[in-house]
Amino acid sequence: MSQTVIEIEDLSFSISGKRILEQIRFCASAGQRLFIVGPNGAGKTTLLRCLSRIISDWQGSIKVKGKNIRAYPQKKLAKILTYVPQVLPADIPFTTHQFILMARYPHLSPFSVISPQDEKIVSDAMDMTQTACFAERVMATLSGGERQQVSITAAVAQQAEIFLLDEPATYLDYKHQRDIHSLLAKINKTCGTTIVCVTHDLNSAVLSADKIIALKEGKIVFEGTSQEIMNEDTLEKIYSKKFDFAQHPVTGQKIIVPDVIE
């Protein structure tokens, strides 16, 4: 049994009287690949933002490595977990290398200089994610897929143990979607990183998750394995629509197929 790294109990959050999250309760253990799915407006992104402390006025308890998340200084928390937003701003004026180097921030003090060791960590991260080829390009000139790869590379260079990803592949084409998901699988395998990933792509969640959680209207309506969620009634309960299924030709897993549009 591996160590529990995230422990959420009775997490609730509301914006001007409207409940966004209600009594959320789940755990993630070290090295786990946890996917969070659910319809639009279910509170998935908000949940990640609470976890990464971008939002702080929630009620309940969030523990990271056994310690209340509020007790961490932001910098110390950034050594343990990091957040990868849906998209990076399109107009970042820094080069890829500069941007990834900035991910060493939690390991630096205000006036310290970048050490050769930091440089090594950054170049190793770029080798791993195959982003070294555009190291000297300005971020604003990268494509959406490249920018997303860089965003994840920076998280690797940050050496966080937990990655919180918000729909990392949503705006990407099929190849780049595949690249991002296999990159995440590789990071999870080689670094033992815990992956908490919000997605709308049920099939890729099913194919790579250890555990899936489904949110609906701010509540957890499903928690279980890939096999368990691929069930007509379960999915209908989550998405209020019927799904058709097929067998994956390689793995034999049950996957969903797109609807026929008349």
Binding site: K75, L77, A78, T82, P85, P93, F94, M102, A140
Partner: protein
């Protein structure tokens, strides 16, 4: 290329400080420099008027540029300056209150009043932005402009109720001037500016990350809220210092960071010192023009910076090639 530009800015600043004290309605011969007893009038002019004036202009320009860099990065907005956020307006109102009501009772209280004014303005702008849930830079700038107008009206009201001499003093000072005598003003300004610059320089890495996005900054471990408070406090005190001594001098805080970004790039570890040197040198040069162009009479330096700054501001609005938005 960027390193060359930075070295160029350093040389530019040194040259401006070295040359401008000699320029003005009275020519200063080099022999006057050795006259430490101030026996000649040239030496008196040089040591008790020109040098303090050059230092004051340099420090004021440096402080305003430093505030501009920090605010623009923090809000990811090219128009964020002490002016558009209402900080200058608050400081000016504080100083005007001091001139009219308190200068007869307490001497040297101008900074304290300005600081109270600038802090009040920041609290007002920040508070107004916070009332609307969620933080929006657009709301903040609009609140800043509203607060600025509010304080300008209050200053006009003060002028209206004050007597002729006080009113004239306020008008003269509102135009912006670095016309000082002796080293008291540059001394105080030096302390305030130095503290402010050190505090902001210590935020360089935070500013780099916050100039990308607050989310990314938080993900990398920046305490975004605390950084905002520190920057607001540091800029409030620097702006209060500058405004109480020199009046609300415009456009340096807007212009210097933009020009330096074009020259040395976006890394605040270089950008902040570059903007500080450039802003200082720029204002010193403006003041040099202001005191020579209609010599022996003088123009307020604020007139020159605004004359140069106005067209620059328009150019900035019209050109859309700078993709970064900063």
């Amino acid at each position: 290329m960027k390193r060359t530009a930075f070295i160029f800015i350093i040389i530019f600043a040194i040259l401006v400080i070295a040359i401008t004290p000699f320029i003005g309605s009275v020519k200063i011969p080099f022999s006057a420099l050795k006259d430490f007893e101030l026996a000649t009038s040239e030496a008196q002019i040089f040591y008790s008027l020109r040098l303090p004036r050059v230092f004051t202009a340099f420090l004021a320009g440096a402080a305003l540029a430093c505030c501009g860099v920090a605010l623009q990065a923090m809000f990811k907005n090219p128009l964020a300056t002490p002016f558009t956020l209402g900080i200058s307006g608050g400081a000016a109102f504080g100083a005007a209150v001091y001139v009219i009501f308190a200068s007869a009772i307490i001497s040297y209280g101008g900074i304290a009043f300005s600081f109270a004014g600038s802090l009040g303005a920041v609290a007002l702008v920040y508070g107004l932005t916070r009332i609307k849930k969620g933080f929006s830079v657009g709301t903040m700038l609009l609140a800043g402009i509203a607060v600025n107008f509010f304080f300008s009206s209050l200053i006009m009201f003060l002028q209206y109720i004050s007597d002729f001499t006080q009113s004239f003093r306020i008008i003269h000072w509102l135009m912006g001037s670095v016309d000082v005598t002796g080293f008291h003003t540059p001394g105080v300004l030096f302390v305030i500016t130095a503290v402010g610059i050190i505090v902001i320089a210590a935020q360089s890495l935070n500013l780099n990350l916050m100039s990308i996005s607050d989310e990314i900054a938080a993900a990398r471990g920046v305490n975004v809220k605390r950084t905002r408070k520190i920057i607001f406090l540091a800029t409030s005190i620097m702006v209060a210092g500058v405004v109480s001594f020199c009046g609300p001098i415009g456009f340096v805080g807007l212009m210097a960071p933009h020009i330096c970004r074009l020259l040395v790039g976006y890394d605040h570890k270089i950008l902040t010192p570059a903007a500080i040197l450039f802003g200082g040198a720029f204002l010193t040069l403006c003041d040099c023009v202001a005191r020579t162009i209609i010599a022996p009479a003088e123009m307020p330096v604020g007139v020159i910076t605004a004359l140069l700054g106005g067209p620059f501001f328009v150019w900035l609005l019209l050109k859309d090639t700078d993709k970064s938005g900063l």
